[in-house]
Amino acid sequence: MTNKQDFIEIKGLIKRYPHAEANAVDHLDLTIAQGEIFGLLGPNGAGKTTTLSILCGLISATAGSVSIDGLSMKSHPDQVKQLIGVVPQEIALFDKLTARENLLYFGQMYGLTGKSLRNNVENYLRRFGLTDRKNHRIGNFSGGMKRRINLIAGILHQPKILFLDEPTVGIDVHSTNVILEFLREINQQGTTILYTSHHMNEAENLCSRIAVIDYGKLMAVGIPAELIRSHAGCENLEDLFLQLTGRKLRD
């Protein structure tokens, strides 16, 4: 099976929030091929979360279109939703439930049940080094552990496409490494990944391609090494980013 070139397709996408003065996403065009790890990079307020939210069907676009594996969210919501896994920027879990209860619940929300779901949950907990904590309430977890559970909740149904919104924000090196390693692993097994980040080094190492956006506009897109080479005076993505956006990464 050959990989589809326009697995995720974003065409002329515009989003203006009600009462906003400018577009949060401004004429964005992007295509992402099957099997890529694609990094969507941009400073705070660039429109990363907005773009992901439209892709996941959480908010509607003002103009333009998005499709996933040729399907639009509007005409085939349930099919698209089965294809995608979403790991939101904030920790969207129940503090009063244990790690295991949280995961079982979100698994069931995808229609998974029974032994296969339970095994699935156990495996992921082991994979992320959380087996001994599985019966503890999430509320008492560290930020890094919460992030890991937050991630597992989005992949229990083995999606073909995984959207991650800043999955490594605010956590220590160990947790970051566990997560990145895992992303590489499932990517090798065929999962297409679209993720957003502030960490340029991380993106440089992880991504097959990246796009830099600012004020909702596409500033550059391509393979990290090529982008760095084609922009004079840039030694790494950090430099490129500064050149393109005129801003430091973290303000």
């Binding site: 439209i54 996941c56 069907g57 959480l58 908010i59 509607s60 676009a61 279109s65 998005v66 639009s72 969210m73 509007k74 919501p77 349930d78 099919q79 939703k81 089965q82 995608i84 979403v86 939101p88 920027q89 904030e90 920790i91 969207a92 879990l93 129940f94 009063k96 439930l97 209860e101 079982l104 619940y105 979100f106 069931q108 929300m109 995808y110 229609g111 049940t113 309430r137 909740a153 989005g154």
Partner: protein
Amino acid sequence: MWLFLIKYTASTYKETLLLLRDRAGLAMLFIMPAALVMIMTLLQDSTFKVLEEKKLSVLVVNQDADTFGINIVDGLKQSKFFHVIDSLNGKVLTESALREQVAAGDYQIGIVVRPNATRNIRENMKYNMLQQLPDEHSDVFGSDSIALSPPASIEVFFDPVTKNSFKQAIISALREYSSLVEAKVMFGVYSGVFEDMLGIKLKQQGMSTRMVNINEQYASTDEHLAVPNSVQHNVPAWAVFAMFFVVIPLAGNLIKERESGVSLRLRTMPGSDLAMIMGKVTTYFMVILSQAILMLLIGIYLLPLLGLPQLKPGHHYLALFVLTATISLAATGYGILIGTIAGSQEQSAIFGSISVVILAAIGGVWIPVFMMSGVMQVVTKLSPLNWSLNGYYDIFLRNANLMDILPNLTALFLFFVTCVSIGWWVNTHKNQPV
């Protein structure tokens, strides 16, 4: 369909777990309403006793030392509603003293029977009779000409704060005694005429007994049914209030889910939101239902131990259960509605509690509907708490069965359906995908 069922069961289970984990919240859901029912019943029981059992003190000055005045005072004295006071500090009450006391608010009602009341009645009786008699008998009352006298008069002084219901009670009591006494006086006049004209002496002053006896009965077909008491008003009233108060934790739950991003995450998953909403409905329905049952049990078993009357739940347990379940459903629906339209926890807590308090007030939880003014008696129909409370009244007091309370059940169920539909619609249409 399969997906819906899985999501529905998982949501119900999750909500139950969350509730069980929140010990403090759960305790509040059960202990607070239980305390509420007991405290309010105890408080209102004393109010009811004031209304029903404690006699209302009335000051009386009788300036007519004759049949009318004496009988009126006796009638008031014999009534179980009034405590008649005709002397203060060992001194016989005067009109000015009476006015002073009432004006000062020490007593709410003062009654003055004007002088010559009996004489005036008698004279007017005779005058009327003369008008009816043929001219040749115009001397039955002697040769003095008889003129129309002013009517006998009773002044009633009220403290301005006196409740309308008290005023009505005293006025109608006075009317009743007056007509009895009038009849008595009339009988005396007639019997005098009888004796004079026909030489027949009637044996006794009759008419002391009533010819029409009005019995107050509660319209129920069952002899064993008790008359309403404070418990039968208060237990269902506060139970309904507490049931609807569950909108606050329920709406809070919905908003928390929205603020934590969980509901956004859930929206990225296949299938309908309705499964999650119905999961919440099921869990909270069970909570409200158990809460209501607890409160009814308190009415039946605990309140008697506190010296209050026992709640008699009527005979139609099925109707009672179906009504309680439907109210639980309506309350759940209201919570879902508030949880979806409120923007934040604060908004929902404030709007939720105030709206329930208002609906309770107009629904007759605080002040029973029959005590309300005319406009309010119509407005009250707008409150689902009124539909609920009336259903309980029907079952407890009128021995209603399932068919009798069908209108209440229908209204409550439609309220539930409307709330959930609006909530669901708002939930899905707030954000439309591309």
